[in-house]
């Protein structure tokens, strides 16, 4: 299979702010953009704050803690690089507010529940890339989903 084969898992383009975001993940850290002007957290990375239009921001360490707010379990392959079904696509809302589309490690997909408390765990792909994944965090109280 050549490099352009559809069976190669798609990768983020590791340039600009996205490159910085993933560099932190590869270093084992979940950092989220935070506006230096109004303090609003934001993800997906963007150059300007949607709340106050300030372009002054920093990468702030996230607590890495959050909860599952929605999910789907894919049972049939929908992409040639993702044939290992079933697999979970999950949205985690961090304690700081921003949400990430992600997955849950070390879990039977069918046992994953909305409302479950989770914590950040990098998923190593290769030397250059790790993905921001999560694991169940039994030490954290479960919360009602808003």
């Amino acid at each position: 299979m050549g490099e352009n084969s559809a069976t190669v898992r798609p990768r983020p383009q590791l340039t600009g702010m996205t490159g910085e975001f993933y560099a932190h993940i590869a270093a084992g850290e979940l950092r989220i953009q935070r506006c230096s002007e109004c303090g609003a957290w934001r993800h997906i990375p963007r150059p300007v704050c949607a709340e106050c239009a300030s372009d002054d921001w920093t990468w702030e360490p996230s607590s890495g803690r959050g909860q599952i707010v929605t999910l789907t379990i894919t049972e049939r392959p929908l992409h040639p690089a993702f044939t290992d079904t079933p697999y979970a696509i999950v949205v985690v809302q961090l304690a700081e507010g921003p949400r990430l589309l992600t997955t849950i490690l070390d879990a039977d997909p069918h046992e994953i529940r909305v409302g479950t408390a989770v914590r950040f765990e990098p998923l190593r792909v290769d030397d250059e890339l790790s993905l921001p994944a999560f694991v169940a965090d039994p030490d954290q109280p479960q919360q009602a989903v808003s």
Binding site: I44, T74, L78, H79, V91, T103, V125
Partner: protein, 388 residues
């Protein structure tokens, strides 16, 4: 200001195996020729094109159709919400005197050519922006049912949607397709047992919650509402609006994830048209997946948020019910021409030409569009004045 109307519609056959055997440009051209004939104008009188966001370009269409008087062209980039939104752009071009006969067409080999099921092609990917590429695809969130399933699950957590409600949408579309010989699923009836037995794709979506992938072309011509007397064949465009959720390129980080483009667009459309959801004799709701129909019924105001589960029960959305939807079978059971076939069907209903599936004395109809990560559009259409 010149009021605008849909003056003609055309389609090719809608097929799956073995495919259309024609290019997407050829499908659009065939549908356009049919629409011009339906409108009673020469193809050469077309002077404006709202070109598809995927498929033939305005330049290719004009060159192939022999259009020497082109004065306006544009493209709407709202995925499946584009064809309905294009009605609004065409109406604006008419009102502003930029063109007199504006073509909207989609020719799509969704079965034999490009497939809608996953974003693999890098050219398709960039239509959605970098968020999809950089933050969703690496987790295998590659196909529309996966993205929208996240909304469906959220809605279910809040409102307790039943599987029966999703099934009611699939069954209504399939029943209507039995009255439409053009529908790909004509002659293939569906029971609720069949529906429940269809394999899970990505929960809550079973196979039969997902729209068809088909080959075919459709075309709609927009012109002046006050054209020559023609027995009410001009369907008045009372209002068309478009809207986007915020942020549009990220389906995950929205203050209220259930607020979609249609949430913003629909109230403006009802205000502009001077009618409301209760005045509609039918609605053609963009049915990429069954939950999106429930959600759009709510966000368009046909029922309150959380109320679709009850609204679609008891045959309310079937012919003879309170609000018949997708009367030709929809994307679920007629064909997937990016929803332009919904516009064609609305025109047929308002011209009282829908035969066995005609909504009696239909005067008002709504058509919605849904695209990308929840962009929305809605058209409110009224039958021509010379009718009934």
């Amino acid at each position: 200001m010149t009021a605008a109307a849909i003056i003609g519609v055309g389609e090719t056959p809608y097929v799956r195996k073995p495919g259309s055997g024609r290019t997407e440009l050829e499908l659009s051209v065939a549908a356009t020729v049919a629409a011009a004939r339906d409108a009673g104008i020469d193809v050469g009188a077309i002077d404006g094109i709202i070109a598809p966001f995927m498929g033939a370009s305005a330049e290719e269409l004009a060159a192939t159709l022999g259009l020497t008087k082109m004065s306006f062209a544009a493209t709407v980039q709202m995925g499946g919400a584009s064809p309905v939104a294009a009605l609004g752009v065409a109406a604006m071009a008419i009102a502003a005197g930029q063109a007199t006969n504006v073509l909207i067409t989609y020719g799509i080999n969704g079965y034999s050519g490009r497939r809608a099921r996953a974003v693999i092609d890098i050219a398709d990917m960039f239509a959605f922006g970098d968020t999809l590429r950089d933050y969703y695809l690496p987790f295998g969130a590659a196909a529309p049912p996966q993205w929208y399933a996240l909304l469906a699950r959220l809605h279910k957590e809040r409102y307790g949607d039943s599987v029966a409600a999703l099934g009611a949408v699939a069954l209504a579309c399939r029943r209507h397709a039995q009255l439409n010989p053009r529908a790909v699923m004509h002659g293939r009836e569906l029971t609720s047992e069949d529906y429940l037995a269809s394999p899970m794709i990505t929960d809550p979506y079973r196979l039969l919650d997902c729209c068809l992938e088909t080959d075919g072309g459709a075309a709609v011509l927009v012109g002046a509402a006050d054209g020559p007397a023609d027995g009410g064949r001009r369907v008045r465009i009372a209002a068309v609006t478009q809207g986007r959720p915020f942020p549009a390129d990220d389906i995950v980080n929205r203050p209220d994830p259930l607020t979609i483009g249609l949430t913003h667009a629909a109230p403006r459309a009802w205000d502009a048209a001077g009618v409301g959801p209760d005045d509609m004799d039918f609605a053609q709701i963009y049915d990429c997946f069954t939950f999106e129909v429930l959600q759009q019924l709510e966000e368009a105001g046909f029922c309150e948020r959380g109320g679709a589960d009850g609204f679609v029960a008891d045959g309310n959305i079937e012919l003879g019910g309170k609000l018949p939807i997708n009367t030709a079978g929809g994307l679920l059971s007629e064909a997937h021409v990016i929803g332009l076939n919904h516009v064609v069907e609305a025109v047929r209903q308002l011209r009282q030409e829908a035969g066995a599936r005609q909504v009696a004395n239909a005067r008002w109809g709504a058509v919605t569009g849904w695209g990308d990560f929840g962009d929305g559009s809605i058209a409110v259409l009224e039958r021509g004045e010379n009718h009934g």
